[in-house]
Symmetry: C2
Subunit: 273 residues, 2 copies
Amino acid sequence: MTTQQLHEQILQKKSFLCVGLDPDLTKIPQHLLETEDPIFEFNKAIIDATHDLTVGYKPNTAFFEAYGIKGWMSLQKTINYINENYPDIFTIADAKRGDIGNTSSMYAKAFFEDLNFDSVTVAPYMGKDSIEPFLAFENKHTIMLALTSNEGAFDFQTLDTGGKELYKKVLETSKTWKNSGNLMYVVGATKAEYFAEIRKIVPDSFLLVPGIGAQGGSLSEVCKYGMNDKVGLLVNSARAIIYASKGTDFAEKAREEALKVQQEMAEIIDSKS
Amino acid sequence: MTTQQLHEQILQKKSFLCVGLDPDLTKIPQHLLETEDPIFEFNKAIIDATHDLTVGYKPNTAFFEAYGIKGWMSLQKTINYINENYPDIFTIADAKRGDIGNTSSMYAKAFFEDLNFDSVTVAPYMGKDSIEPFLAFENKHTIMLALTSNEGAFDFQTLDTGGKELYKKVLETSKTWKNSGNLMYVVGATKAEYFAEIRKIVPDSFLLVPGIGAQGGSLSEVCKYGMNDKVGLLVNSARAIIYASKGTDFAEKAREEALKVQQEMAEIIDSKS
């Protein structure tokens, strides 16, 4: 999917919501545990109930890997299900990978070719040659951590590196890399005031924004500082939507929560146009 | 495995070699492609041929994930094979993970519980709460990236953060985290002169050292600056050993290469005692 197509989807659905799929067997409705693949059944129900309200799904690979081979199979079934049934959805493998060049190439192959995700999240610590192998894939997107939404973001990301915080240096440097047009960035919603600064460095890039909902970020604040003229935001919500109910009505309740966010987004999009 | 037991293994085998398992179907001997699980068969042959010369094996998860479910099954078979047949071997999942707390907990569960590795590599960008969930596991080890062996290491890791390079700040800060005694660090062998500086900050920690062999680092230089009185080094070599031959003699040739490194290590250990 191109960013142009993603933008069209956003306008059509009046939504820039991305639903995070973090399936945890201790949190999903207990009646699903009787099925052969509870994780896939959970994801499938959430997807079927919310696909018209969201432009993206973001399976978090950790929540699949924790269940070993069975988990990896659930991940494959989940991405296949989305690609086959809802081909207009933008898919994100939230994997936060990054390694030396030949290894990053293998990760890129895993997520872009084998699993056929539209995008994957990566970590910047190892620099240029750890990210460029991902960027080499046409019409695939590499979403690099810039400023994350957790407490530990302030351990290193905001350190002063010669008059400039590390996350800004990361943003600036990444723009010089080959095929940097395939980059998007993770920017946490818990620090809305930072978005203005970030937009000075990457005015046109899509930003994937976690931290709305369970982590406490405000949607209107994020949009105020972070939106550009192509919207340029994918706002992720996981727990607040997927765990809205632990009962047999979990999919219905997930839809209700997604709808609330989508309606708020529609108002924001309408007010800008 | 405790670090004390690891130290004992090093003295017993006169080796601090770790063999990197980076199985690539385009590089492994082609006759193995006829077997049901070429990646496992390759690893098994390498392990059987080198286990008495090495104290550790480091499967690189990217090279398994690239083959999807089949690859993940090969990874599981490989770690099970090592744990069942060579329980004294220190195992490293080279995964370079790291995410917000609840997600890092899932990764820790994947590698420490489900797969039963002794250790896993992690990336520091997201800070304290992204690493502490790994550190909570007793007798398991979390090997954090400090200074890597690739070109991109100089993009961010060596940036000056208030009079101190970022990798030094990462090392220092990590010492304040809960259960920091379970930390080891990745330090690339291509920059031996840095080891003296690093040892001032983490005199007692084990350092996992990639970059010997194919990446061009020197063993004697690394030992000169990086060894402590408990050796304190795990030197990784992958391509130079596992791809020493593409013929049916690949395991034998891998042993020959591993033996060369082990003999050099034995001399260094003997010269210090």
